[in-house]
Every structure is written in structure tokens, then in C-alpha cells.
Symmetry: C2
Subunit: 234 residues, 2 copies
DNA sequence: CTGATTTAGAGAGCACTGCTCTCCCTTCTG
DNA sequence: CAGAAGGGAGAGCAGTGCTCTCTAAATCAG
């Protein structure tokens, strides 16, 4: 192994802290995340944890990055495994992957996509990388679908000039080729996708409103695919 | 006035507690809401507040209902003021009203539609009434639009059988007349609307991505109206 | 190998939190 | 007018984040 025993012990302890933190996050939620409780589970006095983590907020940042990475891994793996040439199917797979992860890790999902934790500001330099993996996957998917001719831009509401300007900037920034209508609708689909998942995870539909939320979600993904004009292959 | 001076003083104190609570909610967020701080601002010792509010959670419930009511009032007022016979316009007005309120009261919005506060379970019997006013307004709007012939149900993704069954139940429960496709898409539009607003309020788009978020939102509303087939008058 | 330095943990302590309890004075009620 | 109820004060308990000092162990430099 690399480094001194002390170095390795430090890495191990950091992993333990993250793991215990994730457990507490899952069972008690972000706002109830307590450094002292983590210390207890670690079998150590509370002040000792501060040798590894500067503050409770830094632990939150750790868990934030951890969550983004896990979600990113799962989504990328799912999309890669969807061998289909049909990008409509790939979109469904992507959406399902996000939903599945969100339902399995609701507290982490809440940390990433729910209300910001009061008084906590995520450090952009550490979180923007892993935090954009899902939208990057979505963008990549739409770009490929467009290139493959699997998107027919629907008519309807015109893109306002200021939005068109922003979209143009985004197109250049990411090297995309789709028209304004597609990109603007893709942004809506992105927000709508997380809206649907948040409604489910945060119980906004109300209790016992839907007997088969999975089917509802699949249908919503299909309608969103329609909305961006993602017809798929054949 | 009604009741004894003591009764009136109690009502006044309750209002003060709610008002101060809302201030703290706005400045510090839900998880940082502290009964002791409210007591300080009220000029009273902390234990005295427990004569009025059983627990911190009950104060949260108070603020939850308060928020639902304020949002419901604004949305209903805005829709009522939109005298137009054009239900597409009324939909835009409704969406804008929700967004405007959400941006003005982000902490309350987070309390209502963001991650649930850990360990806090909203008492359904008190919150379901005011909590459903926005969706009721939406449902009413779509029903009237359908009756007025301003909705053409678009083709596209078929409604899965289980979803159709749930939708049928909802239709009967609310006395609606629209077809399955419309109702199912309306549910998507509902979730998508809050998804767009949450993205904006919770800063999920990333910093400086859009120069004119208002225009983006208006466009998103228009696309959502398209998605449910709400063509409007003329 | 030895001495200096860095590191990890322990423990005390401060200010804060939610919440409960008792005590006491005021106010309402029969 | 006497008893009951209401509302505030204050102490206290257990928990929190975080800082400080002290000690012992591990690492590094010569």
C-alpha cells in the first residue's frame, strides 16, 4: 500500500466517517446529522472527529459529493448498459435510473435536490463536477439522438429571444448541434424529470393517490420524450 | 370584541408567535427554526412559549398551514383576476402566481415543497385542506377549459392501464369529465410546474446559466400548456 | 538511534437547542 | 369571595457544534 500506516489509517477513518454519516443521513435526514453521533458510532470522542472533518458543513459536503458520485455512477452505468440504438429507450432508462436511486436513497436525494440546508452553502469548486453528471448524461443523450435523426422538433410555443440567447451560449459551451426549440425543451424535460421524482420522493401526490407510481412515472417519461420530440428509432 | 381580555391576548400572542416564526423561517430556514429564539423576540422566557405551542413541530405545522393558505390565497386571487375566457392565459397566470410567491418566500416554499423536515410528519387532518388548494385550482382550470372546448387531447404515449384506473378514480372523486390522456398529462404538468419552480428556487440550474429566468419559466409554462393540449381560445 | 515535530485522541468547557418541571402571581369563574 | 385556571419565570436535563488544552503515540530529521 501507499504511505505510512498512519496515512492508511487516516484514509480508513475518513471512509468510516463518510459511511456512518451516510447511515445517519438515511435514517435521520440531513438536518439531524450530528457530528457527535457520528463520533459515538465511530467509538471516539466528538472532538477527535474534528481532526478529520473541519465542521458539520464539511461533512455535509462530503456526503453531497458522495451522493452525486453514486447517482452519477448508476445513471451512467444504466445508460451504458442500455445497448439500444433507440435513444428514446435510453432516455427512459436514464430517468428510471435516477428515480430508482432517489427512492432507495431519499435522504441523500433530498440533500442533493431538495431544500438547501439552512446556513449551508455548497462549495462550488468541489461539487459542480460530480453535481453535473446527470445533466451531462442527458445532454449527451439528446445530442446523440439529434445526430441520429431520432428527434423531430415539434412546433408550438416559440422560444423567447432572451432564452434563445442563453441557449445559444449553452450550445457553444457544450458543443451541441440541436436547434433552439430542442435545447429549450430539453431543459424543461430536465426540470420536469426531477419534478416528477421529487413529487414521489417527497410524497407530494398525497397518500394512496396512485396505486402504481412506477407506471405513472414511465408514462410521464414517455410524455416528456414526446414533448422534446424524441421519437426514437423506427 | 369577543371573549375575555385573556382570550384576546391569547389570540394576539398566537399571531405574534406565527409572525415571528415566519420571520425566522424566512431568514434562517426551517431546520434552524428555534422556539427559544422566537421566545426571545417575543420578549418572553422560552418555557412560556410552550403555553401556546406544544412543540417545535407544532410551530412548524402552524407555519406550514400559514404558508399553504397564503399561497392558496394568492393563486386563487390571481386566477380570479385573470378575467380572460382564455384558459391558456389563466394557466399561465396560475403558474406565474406560484412562482412569484415561491421566489418571494423561498424558505416557506422549501417547507411546503422541498425536502421534508427530518423527524417531522405533517398532521394530515390539518394540512390536507389548505395543502391541496393549488392542485384544486389547477384541476378546476383544466375542467373548465375542457368544458369550454379549449383542450385538444394530443396523441402520443398511451396511458398505462393501472394509471388509467387511478385516473378514473380521480375523475369520479372530483367530478371531472376530461379523458384519461388529459388527466394523466395534467398530473405531469402539475409535477413539472413545481419541478421548474423548485429548480429556480433551489438554484439547481447553476449560477448564471440563464439571464432571464422569467422568460424561461414563461416558455416552460407555454410548453406545458402545449403538452396537455391546452390551446386556449381562438 | 535519538531528539524534535507532527498527529490523534481525551476531556473539559462554552453557548446554544428542545423540552419538562416547579413555583408564583394574575385573572377568570361559580 | 374563594377556588380554579392561565401564563410567565427560572432551574434543570440531555443533546448539539465547536474550541481549547493536555497527553501519548507515530513519524521524521540528523
Amino acid at each position: 500500500m501507499t504511505g505510512t500506516p498512519r496515512d492508511r489509517a487516516r484514509v480508513q477513518t475518513m471512509q468510516d466517517i463518510t459511511r456512518i454519516g451516510r447511515q445517519h443521513l438515511a435514517t435521520d435526514g440531513a438536518a439531524a446529522l450530528s457530528l457527535r453521533a457520528v463520533a459515538r458510532d465511530l467509538g471516539v470522542v466528538s472532538s477527535a472527529v474534528y481532526r478529520y472533518v473541519k465542521s458539520r458543513d464539511e461533512l455535509l459536503t462530503l456526503l453531497l459529493i458522495d451522493g452525486y458520485d453514486e447517482l452519477g455512477d448508476e445513471v451512467e452505468r444504466a445508460v451504458a448498459a442500455a445497448s439500444a440504438e433507440d435513444f428514446r429507450i435510453r432516455f427512459l432508462v436514464l430517468g428510471r435510473a435516477v428515480r430508482t436511486w432517489a427512492l432507495r436513497e431519499p435522504a441523500t436525494y433530498a440533500l442533493l435536490f431538495g431544500s438547501p440546508v439552512p446556513g449551508y452553502q455548497a462549495p462550488g469548486e468541489q461539487t459542480t463536477g460530480p453535481g453535473t453528471r446527470v445533466i451531462r448524461a442527458l445532454i449527451g443523450l439528446w445530442e446523440q439522438a439529434w445526430a441520429a435523426g431520432q428527434i423531430v422538433v415539434p412546433g408550438g410555443a416559440p422560444v423567447p429571444p432572451t432564452v434563445a440567447a442563453d441557449v445559444t451560449r449553452i450550445r457553444e459551451e457544450f458543443g451541441l448541434s440541436g436547434p433552439d426549440d430542442l435545447l429549450a425543451r430539453a431543459i424543461l424535460a430536465w426540470a420536469a424529470l426531477f419534478g416528477c421524482i421529487s413529487f414521489e420522493v417527497f410524497d407530494q401526490y398525497g397518500p394512496d393517490t396512485f396505486s402504481d407510481v412506477e407506471a405513472l412515472f414511465d408514462y410521464q417519461l414517455a410524455v416528456l420524450a414526446d414533448t422534446v420530440g424524441l421519437v426514437g428509432a423506427g
